[in-house]
């Protein structure tokens, strides 16, 4: 019972902070809301008994990704006057329609579909040994390829962002 109350609190916090990311007028406020939203999703992973992924979420998203995003915001500030600039394009009402229709569709599909298995059951305690077995043995080749992808992306990012002579 206490778990369900906590779940609803976290769900409301995630929806609220996610709405803050996309509706906030200030870019920095959006970034702060993003940190809270990602942290809330990490808490959801704890509810799903996947504590390892919750830790990964906090470390990679809460630590690395948001720092990168804040750094990019700092480097690309235009106005020093501090007056609020226009953050939405002229197409924003259409985007609202598209997002609302898509959200309604997804919610209806999620509620109408009969999923196989016992849905209201407590999620099984997911063993870390099982995750590592699946990740390093069964998905070993994709794991190595993912590391190559990270390396290539980092080299590409460095080449793109490098200050060239005569630039």
């Amino acid at each position: 019972m206490a778990t369900e109350v906590l779940w609803w609190i976290f769900a409301a916090a995630i929806v609220g902070t996610s709405a803050g990311v996309v509706f906030s007028r200030s870019v920095i406020h959006s970034a702060i809301f993003l940190i809270l939203s990602l942290g809330g999703v990490g808490a959801m992973y704890v509810f799903l008994t996947v504590e390892f992924l919750a830790l990964v979420q906090f470390l990679i998203y809460g630590g690395a990704v948001t720092v990168l995003i804040l750094l990019a915001l700092m480097l690309t500030r235009v106005d020093a006057s501090g007056k609020p600039e226009r953050v939405n394009g002229t197409q924003a009402p259409w985007a609202l329609i598209v997002g609302g229709v898509l959200g309604a569709l997804l919610v209806i599909v999620a509620l109408k579909t009969t999923w196989p298995g016992n849905l209201s059951d407590k999620p099984a305690q997911i063993d870390l040994n099982l995750i590592s077995q699946r990740l390093f043995v069964d998905f070993g080749a994709p794991f190595v390829i993912a590391s190559v992808l990270l390396l290539v992306a980092l080299v590409g990012a460095i080449i793109l962002a490098r200050q060239e002579d005569g630039d």
Partner: protein, 102 residues
């Protein structure tokens, strides 16, 4: 306990908020943040399915690991592009960088 549908509805809401952000925002970094929201909704969906429907193999959790990896690579690359764009055009708004060729 919380049934599976709650997670699905929650992730659907986060995903459609992210879609709205991607379509409506002007600043490229804000578009990137909305993409992160969408990726998170997808990971949440994968892990919920793994915990409720596939607890003996947890394929969804493995996919979530790969989603996080690709998201990290994507953020690094996209921010390099944004910084490059800002240096060349003195703007980071996507609607001001609409020319395909100089």
């Amino acid at each position: 306990m919380v049934p599976l549908e709650n997670y699905l509805v929650l992730s659907a809401i986060i995903f459609s908020l992210g879609v709205y952000g991607v379509l409506a925002r002007r600043n490229a970094v804000l578009v990137l943040m909305s993409v992160e929201l969408m990726l998170n909704a997808v990971s949440l969906n994968f892990i919920a399915f793994a915990a409720y429907l596939d607890p003996n193999k947890v394929t969804g959790a493995i996919f979530a690991v790969f989603v996080i990896t690709v998201a990290a690579a994507e953020v690094g690359l996209a921010l390099a592009i944004v910084i490059r764009l800002f240096r060349n055009r003195a703007t980071s708004n996507v609607d001001e960088a609409a020319t395909m060729k100089w």
